[in-house]
């Protein structure tokens, strides 16, 4: 099957190259048949890539270790769910996922626009197939997922233990869907610039795809944050790691784009800005893939040794220079149809919000790349961590939240004093009430940025609540529907607008959670014996008893903790640390269990107001002599077994493995029967749950905005508009 897979990759590459040629030839010669053929090449590519991906998935599910990628990332003991999702845990599989998703989304947009944007579509098809050719070449020639070995191992290495987490399994397809969906408005923007069809038509046909890209990227980022919080054993959800930043940058840029296109659609303004934003978003999406692929994050020198680095740099160079050249070339066609009437208008707020988002993107870009820039200039890498981000990102985030509350309240074109009073009175009052209450609570005033975020968040939630209530009231006045029905009808009839408002409210909830959990976190690093306790933020956490488990896959040491407050039991938590054996054959038979991957199971009590987060780090000192002794005993026994005739040696080695499992079991037993002190990280964080709730609200709002308007409702709206226009003309 590997041969078929490899043949499909080559076939896909051929189809992509043909499609580029057919689309461009058709566009230049005006031959619709060639254009149609180019579009069908995309459908064919989707079919070919689907088959290739099915073959790879089948290899993982069958545990076919003749595939190098399966042997390296799966094993017979890997649960079926993780076997199925391990395909994208490898470099090769994830690149194939990129091409496959790109082919699917490209097919969808080209099918939906087969009778629209006829001039733009062939160029967009060529650009999309250009991406497919690039990533297809990488999978076919540099990172082939169908590479095989003549002597397959009897067992695979297994999936990285840290990745055995449900949210991490969905994280890559979400991010890659976001990246590949961003390629679609990017391609149509290129097509619009080439053909000078720079009205809002290309935006209208790709807007939903940009929104879907934003939604998928956002979900992917949040799933990654959730994984970091519950799996990585450090108690945080965001570390400003370059891999995280790689996904955040295109998301921020795309957020700016989906706001500013409204100004182009309504007022014919910001054409240069919109084209630049989507071209930047598309480029940042490829940059995101480049950042985690090329090794450049480790060092410029690592980049030089990478096989994928140079092709990516060439692609990015082409994208950046091509985008800049096209915008300069078409600058005359990109002039705005109208001007900004007032700085107190919705379009001005959108513009400021865009500047803030682009500013955030630039800050993240600069600080992420700064170690490399300093290394290139001075020869020495400079380490910059979260402290370099915070002075810029925190104030910019505050301004962003403020603007996300102002945007829904302020009118288009120009605002009047009466409009300001009517719209802002309640939300501003709500923000001020929050300020007074928080100042009275005490403690919060010492953290001015957190205080500001709480007040601004309240302002945003109040402004969205007010807009929703006004809409419901107006609807009830017309239809006399009960409130729930009027609310649902209101959202159903203007999904884009109210979906957006719900997203704003979700963002406020999320950022309140971020501000609270980062400013008021209590963290203790303590060493406890069974029966001992520590107090963290008023919670008495007692180490009740040790627990342990030993299998051929791993040995884990853990603890049962009792959490109490004010003498009342709150929760019983269990935390463990699993030790997976290293693959290094030079390590001792027993010792290798403690020199491989380690993985924490967090003991977590998630609450609406506070999270209690615990993790154990066992001290191995007391069993170290036993481990060393075991290694020596097994080394001698293995050497003796190797000197025996083959059949006896195999039997002896089988016995030795059984003895090893017993020895590992004895170590686990020792931890339980004769427990010794262990190190614990105990964290109490307020409002972490708000982050996940805010994310769910954002996702719901995004889905509402994305959901297609029913055909009947669209027809009704169109006919009502036509009737009104006819009346006005008459």
């Amino acid at each position: 099957m590997a041969l078929v897979g490899r043949a499909l990759l080559i076939l896909g590459l051929g189809v992509s190259v043909y499609g580029i040629g057919a689309s461009l030839y058709g566009a230049l010669q005006g031959g619709q048949r060639w254009v149609d053929s180019g579009r069908r090449a995309v459908y064919a590519l989707a079919g070919v890539m689907t088959l290739a991906f099915v073959i790879l998935e089948a290899a993982f599910l069958r545990s076919d270790f003749s595939f190098n990628v399966v042997a390296g990332h799966s094993s017979t003991t890997t649960p079926t769910f993780y076997k199925a999702t391990a395909a994208w845990s490898s470099q090769e599989g994830s690149l194939l996922l990129w091409v496959w998703l790109l082919s699917l989304w490209s097919s969808l947009i080209l099918f939906l626009t087969r009778r629209k944007v006829r001039e733009i579509a062939p160029y967009a098809t060529a650009v999309l197939l250009g991406f497919a050719t690039f990533f297809g070449s990488l999978t076919a020639f540099f990172a082939n997922p169908f590479a095989t070995t003549a002597n397959p191992p009897s067992e695979g290495a297994g999936l990285n233990p840290l990745l055995r987490h449900a949210s991490m399994m969905f994280h890559p397809p979400m991010l890659y869907s976001g990246y590949t969906l961003l390629a679609i408005p990017f391609a149509f923007a290129i097509g619009a610039l080439i053909t000078r069809r720079l009205n809002s038509e290309w935006i209208q046909v790709t807007r939903r795809f940009a929104l879907a890209a934003w939604l998928f990227l956002g979900i992917g980022i949040l799933l990654g944050a959730r994984w970091s919080y519950t799996e990585l054993g450090w108690g945080g959800y965001w570390a400003w790691d370059p891999v995280e930043n790689a996904a955040l940058m295109p998301w921020l840029c795309c957020t700016a784009f989906i706001h500013s296109i409204m100004i182009q659609e309504k007022r014919g303004m910001l054409k240069v800005w919109n084209a630049s934003l989507i071209l930047a978003s598309g480029t940042l999406a490829v940059l995101g893939t480049f950042l985690v692929r090329s090794g450049i994050l480790d060092s410029i020198h690592a980049f030089g040794a990478s096989t994928l680095g140079v092709p990516f740099v060439i692609l990015l160079g082409v994208m950046v220079t091509g985008s800049v050249a096209l915008i300069i070339w078409r600058r005359a066609d990109l002039r705005s149809d109208s001007q900004l009437d007032s700085l107190l208008s919705r379009e001005a707020v959108f513009l400021f919000q865009n500047l803030v988002l682009v500013g955030m993107t630039f800050v993240i870009f600069w600080v992420t790349f700064f170690p490399l820039i300093s290394e290139a200039l001075t020869g020495t890498k400079v380490s910059v961590g979260p402290p370099a981000f915070r002075p810029f990102i925190v104030p910019l985030a505050l301004v962003l939240v403020l603007l996300s509350g102002v945007g829904p309240l302020i009118a288009w074109r120009r605002v009047t004093a009466a409009n300001l009073r009517r719209s802002f009175a309640f939300p501003v009052a709500a923000g001020l009430v929050a300020l007074v209450v928080l100042l009275l609570v005490g403690g919060v005033s010492k953290r001015p940025f957190a205080l500001a975020m709480f007040c601004l968040g309240t302002f945003v939630i109040a402004s969205v609540g007010q807009e929703l209530w006004r809409g419901v009231r107006a609807r009830r006045a017309m239809t006399r529907d009960p409130v729930p029905r009027a609310f649902l009808q209101l959202i159903r009839r203007n999904r884009r607008r109210y979906g957006g408002y719900i997203v704003h409210a979700g963002l406020a909830v999320l950022l309140i959670g971020v501000a609270a959990s980062s400013s008021f976190q209590h963290s203790h690093d303590v060493v406890l014996r069974p029966g001992q306790q520590a107090v963290v933020d008023g919670y008495r956490i007692t180490y009740v008893r040790p627990i342990a488990r030993a299998t051929a896959e791993k040995i884990s040491f853990g603890a049962v903790l009792d959490v109490a407050k004010g003498g009342r039991h709150v929760q019983t938590l269990t935390t463990t640390r699993g030790f997976y054996p290293a693959q290094d054959p030079t390590l001792g038979v027993v010792g290798r269990f403690f020199n491989g991957e380690e993985e924490s199971q967090v003991g977590l009590r998630a609450g609406l107001t506070k999270d209690i987060w615990t993790v154990i780090s066992p001290d191995l000192t007391p069993i170290q002599p036993l481990i060393n002794q075991g290694d020596q005993v097994f080394l001698k026994a293995m050497s003796a077994a190797a000197a025996l005739p083959p059949a006896q040696a195999r039997a002896q080695i089988t016995n030795l493995f059984a003895a090893r499992d017993a020895a590992i079991g004895a170590l686990a037993d020792r931890w339980v029967r004769h427990p010794w002190a262990a190190e614990f990280l105990l964290i109490v964080s307020p409002l972490v749950t708000w982050i996940w709730l805010g994310a769910i609200v954002i996702a719901i709002g995004g889905l509402i905005a994305l959901w297609p308007v029913p055909v009947l409702a669209r027809r009704r709206a169109t006919s009502a508009y036509a009737a009104r226009l006819a009346r006005e003309l008459a």
Binding site: H171, W234, E244, F362, T380, V382, D525
Partner: protein, 135 residues
Amino acid sequence: MDPSRKRAIRLTVALTAALLLASALVYTSFSAGRDELTASQLLHQAVPGKSYILAGTVISQQRDGSALLFRVRDPKLHVSVPVRYTGIIPDPFAVGRGVLVTVQKQGSDTQFVGEQDSLTTKCPSKYQAAAGSKY
């Protein structure tokens, strides 16, 4: 006011703000940053008692009771240094991963001692190639 003059003023204000932001960013990057040394730089520059940030790839690790012994390799040269570290070990720590750790040289000892809880590991992205592969 003349619309073109208005536009010019807005552009000047925007550009000034952007320039100020960029200048502050460059200044903060340099002032908040600390030099990361590779294994070979550390071997040449380290003096006892002074702390340095060591960056590189873990090429071997061994538990020694509560301590972790590991070697960090220079990505450019095939030079590595041994580090003895105690404290919380990040879950993503493993052979083949990139790490940052604050270390000190103690006396004439060739082994560097890692400061407690200073070890950070780069995100174990699923997209990275397996350790030792050519990617």
